[in-house]
Amino acid sequence: MTDVVHEIEVEIRNIQGLHLRPAMQIIDLAGGFKSQITVSSDKDTADAKSIMQMMLLRATCGTKLKVRACGNDAKEALKAIQELVEEKHFDEPLPGLTA
């Protein structure tokens, strides 16, 4: 079976952007799936399982990222990542909300 590449777009919503802790959450999540997962900004593409590459995306609050997954569990992987980034926003504060 030829693997189809699934793709979604997510927006970084937490105020501090994709710093080390959120990057860690993504790679931990991605690491649980068999699919190959990449995350792209308009400049770079990163392996979602490499913390170094995720960091180098330099995604700040408001950045839109394309997430591509290829493999048997691709759809589930994308859904989980979307939930982490956009719904849970890494359990971090959003802009405009003062603590």
């Binding site: 952007g17 080390l20 802790r21 490499s50 913390i51 960091m55 700040t60």
Partner: protein, 578 residues
């Protein structure tokens, strides 16, 4: 072949393989390796990753690490260390660029950090700091390994570094270290002091040079001329081997003076004592003809191992030093840490001006427990010989009185437990600040001896940082202000009839010996390798000549005139010394 010029701070010639010591707080310079060393460096990098993961696992499992920010930081570091693409980037860099593992780690992490610069986001700088943390974690393992290797050297080497810290030099296996070359430092930096004590050549203030030394480089250190030669050609190497031989011949001739007294031609007796850092060096002092220890620097007790030394640690060290000189003086200086010498473990919040901060006797008076531990050990050792105690950096009478009061407290404690000690142990102070020098007449009334520490006295009087290569040329004992302040202290001590010695660098500088004698100094304390040469000078002059010279110096108003006069005087008497 590469020739570098610096400041020669300890004489002699060393020819050996160069070993570069890096410090993890300093930018790691680019250092090339040979093709054949690539596999070894890649393996070193892999080992550093493995070791960092092991130690991180160990730290994270400790109960004290609670949930929260710190745990997150450790978890993130762990992800980085386990990131195969990250590791590959470093090993690929070593492979392609042929550099050391340290440099690859440093360069790659700094490149990653640089991606976060110039981005308009207030949280970016924190990300760069996170990256530097990871760099430090890996370098700790790479450089820590290096330190272990320095402890277990099996062949002769010369050490090349940006600068050396006391903690680094304390861990060297000194049998195999034959010389030092550092990029930073001045005439009286730590490297200068330690190399003189060890009697090995050293050149400092060389500027950028660690990157020029590869793992296979042969290095010549010429401490006499202040020159370092990397990878010398055949002819240069041959010349230097001859030169080294001549020098060892000269040293051999001086050794014949060992059993002759340090006495001027007109029979004025001078006492030559040794400065030591480690107890085992007191034997070297005796071997060179020293008549006791005039300055036992005890800081190394605090720098070894990182933990505060116990009373027994102190006592064992002092007993060992005193054993060699059971009837001759051994002057133990209490802890003089602070400023550039404080190790991380004892350091408090960073001070803005540590040279003028909480250090030395000031630190001891505020940290009574640490001070009393040392005083108890000194008192216990006082029954083993002619032990004397000396307080550093005293600036006024109040401090001297406080220190003496604490000494009396400790004596009473010992009385309670019937521990024997010498109740009449002489108590002295270092004269190394302008304020103690200017009030020397008062201080002399309440202590048994002075020892003039010229290094600090010059630094504080001239307001010149002796370790700063940009101003270190202004650091000179021939400044009229220094000559005047010395004369005044010597006068006050002699008038009060208390003991007086000079223990700074000046006491081992051939050019200043006649002046010191002429001003009334009769005891000098210096690094043991210099004792024979200084003795030769003393045995070649008369006190009349010295007095006349001191009188002429008093009439001069510039450093240059004084320096020239001193140089001329000694070169007329002993042309080969200068």
């Amino acid at each position: 072949m590469e020739i570098r010029k610096g400041i020669g701070v300890s004489p002699g010639i060393a020819i050996a393989k160069g070993v570069v010591i890096d410090s993890k707080d300093y930018r790691i310079p680019r250092r090339s390796i040979l093709d054949s060393q690539r596999d070894k460096e890649i393996q070193r990098a892999r080992n550093a990753f493995a070791a960092a993961i092991r130690s991180l696992t160990e730290i994270s499992s400790r109960k004290t690490i609670e949930e929260g920010k710190i745990k997150d930081i450790f978890a993130v570091h762990m992800r980085f260390l386990q990131d195969k693409t990250f590791r590959k980037r470093i090993t690929d860099f070593i492979d392609k660029e042929r550099v050391t593992a340290e440099y690859a780690v440093s360069a790659i992490l700094r490149e990653i950090a640089s991606h976060f610069e110039g981005i308009d986001d207030p949280y970016i700088s924190e990300r760069a700091a996170d990256i530097y943390d990871i760099e430090k974690r890996l370098l700790t393992h790479l450089l820590g390994k290096m330190r272990e290797e320095m402890e277990h050297l099996r062949e002769e080497v010369v050490v090349v570094a940006h600068d050396l810290t006391p903690t680094q030099t304390a861990s060297f296996n000194k049998t195999f270290v034959k010389g030092f070359a550092t990029e930073a430092g001045g005439r009286t930096s730590h490297t200068a002091i330690i190399s003189k004590t060890m009697g090995i050549p050293a050149v400092v203030a060389l500027g950028d040079m660690t990157s020029a030394v590869t793992a296979e480089s042969l290095v010549i250190i010429d401490g006499n001329r202040g020159v370092v030669i990397i990878d010398p050609d055949e002819e240069t190497l041959r010349q230097y081997r001859n030169y080294a031989q001549q020098i060892s011949l000269f040293v051999h001739q001086l050794d014949e003076l060992k059993d002759k007294p340090a006495q001027t031609k007109d029979d004025v007796r001078v006492q030559l004592l040794g400065n030591i850092e480690f107890p085992e060096e007191s034997q070297a002092v005796a071997d060179k003809g020293g008549e006791g220890i005039g300055l036992y620097r005890t800081e190394f007790l605090y720098l070894y191992g990182g933990a505060e030394p116990t009373e027994e640690d102190h006592y064992q060290a002092y007993a060992q030093a005193v054993k060699v000189f059971s009837r001759q003086p051994v002057v133990i200086r209490t802890m003089d840490l602070g400023a550039d010498k404080l190790p991380q473990t004892i350091r408090q919040a960073p001070e803005t001006n540590p040279v003028l901060g909480l250090r030395s006797i000031r630190y001891c008076l505020q940290n009574m427990g640490l001070f009393k531990t040392q005083l108890r050990a000194i008192l216990r050792a006082s029954v083993l010989g002619d032990v004397r105690v000396m307080f550093p950096l005293v600036t006024n009478l109040q401090e001297l009185r406080q220190a003496k009061m604490i000494l009396r407290d400790v004596m009473e404690d010992l009385d309670e437990y019937a521990v024997p000690y010498n109740a009449k142990m002489p108590v002295g102070i270092m004269i190394e600040t302008p304020s103690s020098a200017l009030t020397a007449n008062h201080l002399a009334a309440e202590c048994d001896f002075f020892s003039i520490g010229t290094n600090d006295l010059i630094q504080y009087t001239l307001a010149v940082d002796r370790g700063n290569e940009h101003v270190s040329l202004l650091f000179s004992a021939a400044e009229p202000a220094i000559v005047r302040i010395l004369r005044s202290v010597i006068h006050d001590a002699n008038k009060a009839g208390i003991g007086l010695s000079v223990c700074g660098e000046v006491a081992s500088d051939p050019e200043y010996i006649m002046l010191l004698l002429g001003m009334g100094v009769r005891t000098l304390s210096l690094a043991s390798p210099m004792i024979p040469e200084i003795k030769k000078i003393i045995r070649s002059v008369t006190i009349e000549q010295c007095n006349a010279l001191a009188r002429r110096v008093a009439t001069l108003d510039s450093q240059r005139q004084i320096k020239n006069l001193l140089r001329d005087a000694i070169s007329q008497i002993l042309p080969e010394t200068v």
